[in-house]
């Protein structure tokens, strides 16, 4: 993977450490920022994956607030706090638990500003982690980003690297809108280079993780890394895969994706969310609307099978998009001559 920013000194840290740095820096910068969620303060020093580690020592229990197990309440309180001058960062431990919190997300956070004719703002972040690959089974492994992308008024962020995780979380905290910030549980301990000093990544800007001429790949979270593996394999066969990480799904940087497809004429979309109704379908539609005449083959979805995520390793692996699936899809696309 290319280095995060050319010419800037970097450190190699994990995705979880990068998120932690973002929280620490923004809490130091703005006293109205506070963190609340289940087991964010005490457990293991801060959070089940260490994202909020050490925060309570520096910022105290008022601003690093362990909550009861009350997902709807956590998000609903965050909305009220945000509308009255705070900048809450609420954590829902697993995205699967968001079903309990969908009321305040969809009917309050997303809509207050519009319903009030622009008189309110709701500057809040809801962090959650999604994704499979750790044997957490059907109620702890889903990828549900499409739920939030469907609702006007929300922004949706899905970083795949430590640098993006840090830069996007800082931007999300500073944003005056409700941002659903979705992390991937299998990426927390992955390492990457993160620029020293202030590092912001704007919302709505895709990143081309690898350039290529033959097939455009657009993927979310872990599928970006699987695509990069597939790209190495495909390169040996003379197939160049261009790997794009949209980084934010709402707003979506359509231009970067469309420009790539105009170059390659072929598109793969990929995510660990179920295929049916997934955000990949939206990306395909946006490309077809803008670049139909450039397509040399029908776009392909390499996404999770439409099944609850199974427990056994053999079944879980089969349900999820793998590097080999991406490589196979790319080969099939380039073999189609129109």
């Amino acid at each position: 993977m290319r280095s995060a920013v050319a010419g800037v000194a970097t450190r190699e840290i994990t995705y979880a450490q990068a998120l932690n740095e973002a929280l620490v820096e923004e809490m130091r910068r703005d006293r109205s920022v506070f963190v609340m969620g289940e087991d964010v303060a005490i457990w293991g020093g801060g959070g089940i994956f260490g994202v909020t580690k050490g925060l309570i020592e520096e910022f105290g229990p008022e601003r690093v607030r362990d909550t009861p197990i009350s997902e709807q309440g956590i998000v609903a309180l965050a909305v009220g706090a945000a509308a009255t001058g705070s900048r809450p960062v609420a954590e829902i431990m697993y995205v699967d638990f968001m079903g309990l919190a969908m009321e305040p997300i969809t009917n309050q956070a997303a809509k207050l500003r519009y319903m009030f004719g622009g008189k309110a703002k709701v500057p809040m972040v809801v962090r959650a982690q999604e994704g499979a690959g750790r044997g957490n089974a059907a109620q702890h492994s889903q990828s549900l980003e499409a739920w939030f992308c469907h609702i006007p008024g929300l922004k949706v962020v899905t970083p795949s690297t430590p640098a993006d995780a840090k830069g996007l979380l800082k931007s999300a905290i500073r944003d005056d809108n409700p941002v659903i910030f979705l992390e991937h549980k299998a990426l927390y301990f992955s390492k990457g280079h993160v620029p020293d000093g202030e590092h912001l990544v704007p919302l709505g800007s895709a990143d081309v993780k690898r350039q290529g001429r033959h097939v455009t790949f657009v993927g979310i979270h872990a599928t970006v890394h699987k695509a990069l593996q597939a790209a190495d394999q495909l390169a040996e066969e003379g197939i160049e895969l261009e790997v794009i990480d949209p980084r934010t799904l709402v707003p979506l940087d359509v231009d970067t994706i469309v420009e790539s497809v105009k170059k390659t004429g072929r598109l793969i979309v990929s995510h660990e969310a179920y295929t049916r109704g997934g955000y990949g379908a939206e990306i395909v539609t946006r490309v077809v609307e803008s670049a139909f005449d450039y397509l040399d083959a029908p776009p392909v979805r390499v996404c999770a099978r439409d099944v609850p995520v199974p427990y056994a390793a053999s079944l879980e692996t089969a349900a999820l998009p793998q590097a080999d699936d991406i490589a196979a899809a790319a080969r099939a696309l380039v073999s189609k001559q129109i």
Binding site: F34, P68, G73, A76, G80, N107, Q108, F116, P123
Partner: protein, 327 residues
């Protein structure tokens, strides 16, 4: 009436504030009567939920608050907005979907908010205000503003899960919030005496270790005196409470309610306890009743002018459709 007069002896309000309270109650009643008339005349879209009969609750609580205190409301929100100092012209314009309305015509009756007055909006979700008010109280605590939050909710919302989650968090964190249950005894057609388990709603407060106070919601002084106590406790950092006001809506759930679930005799019985008539009587007993008919005429003129303002205002232009989605 005698009980109310006794309670009035203990009122913290000045004579001028008492006259203001009566004015607000009359304004709410007249505003909602006119809103229903507009709806029936086909001039209003959606629907409207009249607060008529419940005026002592909204005004009684609001007269115990400071301007910087936060309030969340319900479907039945007109009374709360007026009592918090809202502008009836902008309210009426919103009901008629005009660009001069509180929400620029984007919200309508169920979403009127006045952020400048710290009124966080009516809410179309039953119980939707509970998290907002509790979150507002969290801001007050974290930022040390000294303000409190008040959450109005109906008996129907007593059975929403968010009430449990929000009350529990407010209690363990001693947040400055008062939950005001407007028990008008019906959630649409569902009677509170069979939907609410455990007897009195106020008894649920004990489960959270917070005060649960019952008052006669048809008596301004009962509501106002209790609100001063509970709001004061919240402001002193003593934590949240439930204030349950037994009241009654004279009209249907909304303007299109078939009203086949209660009989006229019941309505008539409650109308005998009319909060506005009771207020007038008590103020007269104290010798501070203003010329009520002159006050009513002023209010009628004010509402008529608001309707005129609304009708003469333009509808929102189509270029406003996609604005205000994001900040």
């Amino acid at each position: 009436m005698a009980v109310s007069a006794e309670r009035a002896q203990h009122s913290r309000l000045t004579d001028e504030q008492l006259r203001q309270a009566l004015r607000l109650m009359l304004t709410i009643r007249h505003f909602d009567e006119q809103a229903m008339a507009l709806y029936r005349a086909g001039e209003m879209r959606g629907t409207t939920h009249p607060y008529i009969g419940m005026e002592a609750v909204g005004v009684g609580v609001m007269m115990a608050l400071q301007p910087t205190d936060w309030v969340t409301s319900t479907h039945r929100g007109h009374g709360h907005t007026i009592a918090k100092g809202g502008d009836v012209r902008r309210m009426m314009a919103e009901l008629l979907g005009r660009s001069t309305g509180y929400c620029g015509g984007k919200g309508g009756s169920m979403h009127i908010a006045d952020m400048d007055k710290h009124m966080l909006g009516a809410n179309g979700i039953v119980g939707g205000g509970m998290g907002l008010a509790t979150g507002a109280a969290l801001t007050c605590k974290l930022q040390g503003t000294g303000a409190v939050a008040v959450c109005f909710f109906g008996d129907g919302a007593l059975n929403q899960g968010i009430l449990h989650e929000a009350t529990n968090m407010a209690s363990i964190w001693k947040l400055p919030v008062v939950y005001v249950c407007e028990n008008n005894q019906y959630a649409m057609s569902a009677r509170a005496d069979w939907t609410v388990a455990g007897g009195k709603p106020s008894a649920r407060a004990a489960g959270y270790g917070i005060p649960g106070v019952d008052v006669d919601g048809m008596d301004f002084f009962a509501v106002n005196n209790a609100a001063f106590e509970l709001v004061g406790a919240a402001r002193r950092g003593e934590g949240p409470s439930y204030l349950v006001c037994l009241t009654y809506r004279y009209h249907g759930h909304h303007a299109g309610d078939p009203l086949n679930y209660r009989d006229k005799e019941e309505v008539d019985r409650w109308r005998e306890h009319d909060p506005i008539e009771k207020m007038k009587h008590t103020l007269a007993g104290r010798g501070v009743l203003p010329d009520a008919s002159a006050m009513e005429q002023e209010i009628e003129a004010e509402i008529a002018e608001a309707i005129e303002f609304a009708k003469s205002s333009p509808e929102p232009s189509i270029d406003q459709l996609m604005t205000d989605i994001y900040a």
